[in-house]
């Protein structure tokens, strides 16, 4: 049943460009990118119990590295992408050492501070980053000679990457390391007494989350063909965190659903309502009150109750 539903959803997603207009295809591409970003953040928040308010750092830095290497240094997209992911992952390794000196609120504050440093640099180091003007006039890559300039082709590209990311993270969560991670989230002391190294488990997860954050950043800059310091801002981190929590942290599909919700409200509702932020707030209030564990766990509980019938 679950497999059939998943297969059906994938087919539907693959066929989307045949029955949707460019506006919706582009919206779907953005949702896919936001979903990968939210999935990577969920590794920390949901499975690791490490609430980060600085995850935009990885999206932003990967995007900036790729933008600078291709536009300023004339590198091809292949090596630029490789260097960008490598650089972002290395940064995550370094930031992890700093942030994981603390847990809980302390961890959150350090991640926030580190991301603010990067945001400030992107704004102020205008010699390198072009400051508030951002870096424009970027191009999309052409993997295997396939041009990604049309809405549909880019969407398919993003979909393939997103499905791969989803698969990899699903495997990660089900793996024995995933069990180590969830154990350290729930009972760090017990896990240490059993022979697990909590710090190393958290750090490796932090680095892996940084890697996937970098992947989403690459897609982000390919899609927009432009990068601006706001992508490194706390707002960007907080939106993703809201998506993860609203969709259901610690579930596989929750963050994707939450990310879709945030993007739909932001891009779609804002065309009709000027104060879309207020609408976003109301929607979150509703979720927190009605389904405090998030949309996906909330809905599956509702389904289970409906199946059981009225009492």
């Amino acid at each position: 049943m679950k497999w059939i539903a998943t297969a059906l959803l994938i087919v539907l997603l693959l066929l989307l460009p045949f029955f949707a207009g460019d506006f919706y295809i582009n919206l779907a591409s953005q949702i896919l990118i936001a979903a990968i970003f939210a999935l990577s953040l969920n590794l920390l928040v949901g499975y690791g119990g490490m609430t980060s308010l600085g995850h935009a750092s990885y999206l932003g830095v990967a995007a900036y590295i790729s933008a600078l290497l291709t536009s300023r240094y004339g590198l091809g997209h292949g090596p630029a992408a490789l260097l960008s992911i490598l650089g972002t992952t290395a940064m995550a390794a370094f930031f992890g050492v700093i942030a994981l000196r603390a847990t809980g609120l302390g961890f959150l504050m350090i991640t926030l501070a580190l991301s603010q440093v990067l945001w400030g640099l992107a704004y102020r180091m205008s010699g390198v980053t072009n400051g508030d003007n951002g870096i424009a006039g970027l191009t999309r890559p052409a993997p295997l000679g396939i041009q990604l300039d049309s809405a549909a082709s880019f969407y398919w590209f993003a979909l393939v990457v997103a499905l791969f990311a989803f698969l990899m993270l699903a495997i990660f969560v089900l793996s024995s390391f995933g069990s180590s991670l969830k154990g350290v989230r729930d009972q760090p002391r017990r896990m240490a007494a059993l022979g697990f190294n909590p710090w190393m488990i958290r750090w490796l997860t932090f680095v892996y989350a940084g890697f996937w954050g970098g992947v989403s950043g690459l897609l982000y800059v390919y899609y927009n063909k432009y990068i601006h310091p706001t992508s490194l801002s706390t707002t960007s981190s907080a939106e993703a965190l809201l998506g993860v929590i609203a969709g259901g942290s610690g579930t596989l599909s929750g963050p994707a659903v939450g990310a879709a919700l945030v993007l739909l409200l932001k891009n779609y509702a804002s065309a009709y309502i000027e104060r879309w932020n207020m609408l976003l707030g109301l929607v979150f209030l509703f979720i927190v009150l009605v389904m405090p564990t998030g949309i996906v766990p909330g809905l599956s509980r509702l389904m289970a109750e409906l199946r059981r019938g009225p009492r």
Binding site: G178, S179, Q187, R189, M191, A192, A193, L194
Partner: protein, 248 residues
């Protein structure tokens, strides 16, 4: 050459601010020994366990496991040296099944715990061993139930199973009988009695009727000091034990 002692504690001292909770405690426990640690509330028994397992760092003194100084080692490294423990306050993974709980105990000592690309469910040997351990503590029929579903007495047995699964050289049991009914006590008692002699067992327990049967040697702690230490019958007969612990 095997060392004379499984666990040696030498002149261990720990203070929280002005409150000295462990004052120059020394213990020497032989391989395979069954040692009972008794003492009134606040005597520093659990604090001593925390220092042996590495959850707390002593201010001074030394802890040796089979001759190796482990005083500065982190808790997880001590586990790899063959030290396991249970907790006075039940510390389980409540949302997970019993089998998963025991599997974590097994996984902790294996390199598979770092494996990111292979599902845990593909490790058939882990599943078999986890279920065998659950069988040994009489909980196989509940293997697929989440811990939150089972009764308190059963949780105590899972607590024990997680440690036993690790096949430790030295096992620290912190009040394994706490809060149990008479029937449950005798179940746990026979479980502890069946632990193989390769494992040295050190136990904190208040239930003297049950615990004394299991013990060969007894240490009496009070105000963080060792008051009496030695052979079971000698310690029980000692005047000071009567005074401090058993009551007149």
């Amino acid at each position: 050459m095997t060392p004379d002692y499984a666990l040696e504690v030498v002149n261990l001292t720990k203070a929280f601010g002005g409150l000295v909770v462990t004052q120059g405690v020394s213990l020497a426990i032989r391989p395979g020994e069954r040692r009972l640690i008794i003492g009134p509330n606040g005597a520093g028994k659990t604090t001593l366990f925390h220092q042996i397992s590495g959850d707390l760092r002593p201010n001074s003194g030394q802890i040796r496991l089979f001759g190796t100084d482990i005083t500065q080692l982190t808790p997880y490294k001590r586990a790899h040296f063959g030290l396991s423990r249970t907790y006075q306050i039940i510390t389980l993974f409540t949302g997970d099944t019993l089998q998963h709980n025991v599997t974590l105990g097994l996984l902790g000592l294996r390199s598979a715990r770092w494996q990111m690309w292979r599902p845990l469910s593909h490790y058939g040997d882990l599943a078999i061993e986890a279920r065998r351990t659950l069988d040994a503590v009489g909980l196989l029929h509940l293997a697929d139930h989440p811990v939150s579903d089972i009764a308190y007495g059963e949780k105590r047995r899972v607590e024990l199973a997680m440690a036993l699964a690790q096949n430790p050289r030295v096992l620290l049991l912190d009040e394994p009988l706490a809060g149990l009914s008479n029937t449950e006590r005798s179940q746990i008692k026979s479980l502890i009695a069946s632990i193989p002699r390769e494992t040295t067992v050190i136990m904190i327990e208040h239930d003297m009727d049950t615990a004394l049967d299991l013990a060969e040697t007894v240490t009496l702690l009070n105000y963080g000091r060792v008051i009496v230490d030695g052979d079971r019958d000698t310690v029980i007969a000692d005047e000071r034990t009567r005074e401090v612990y058993l009551g007149a």
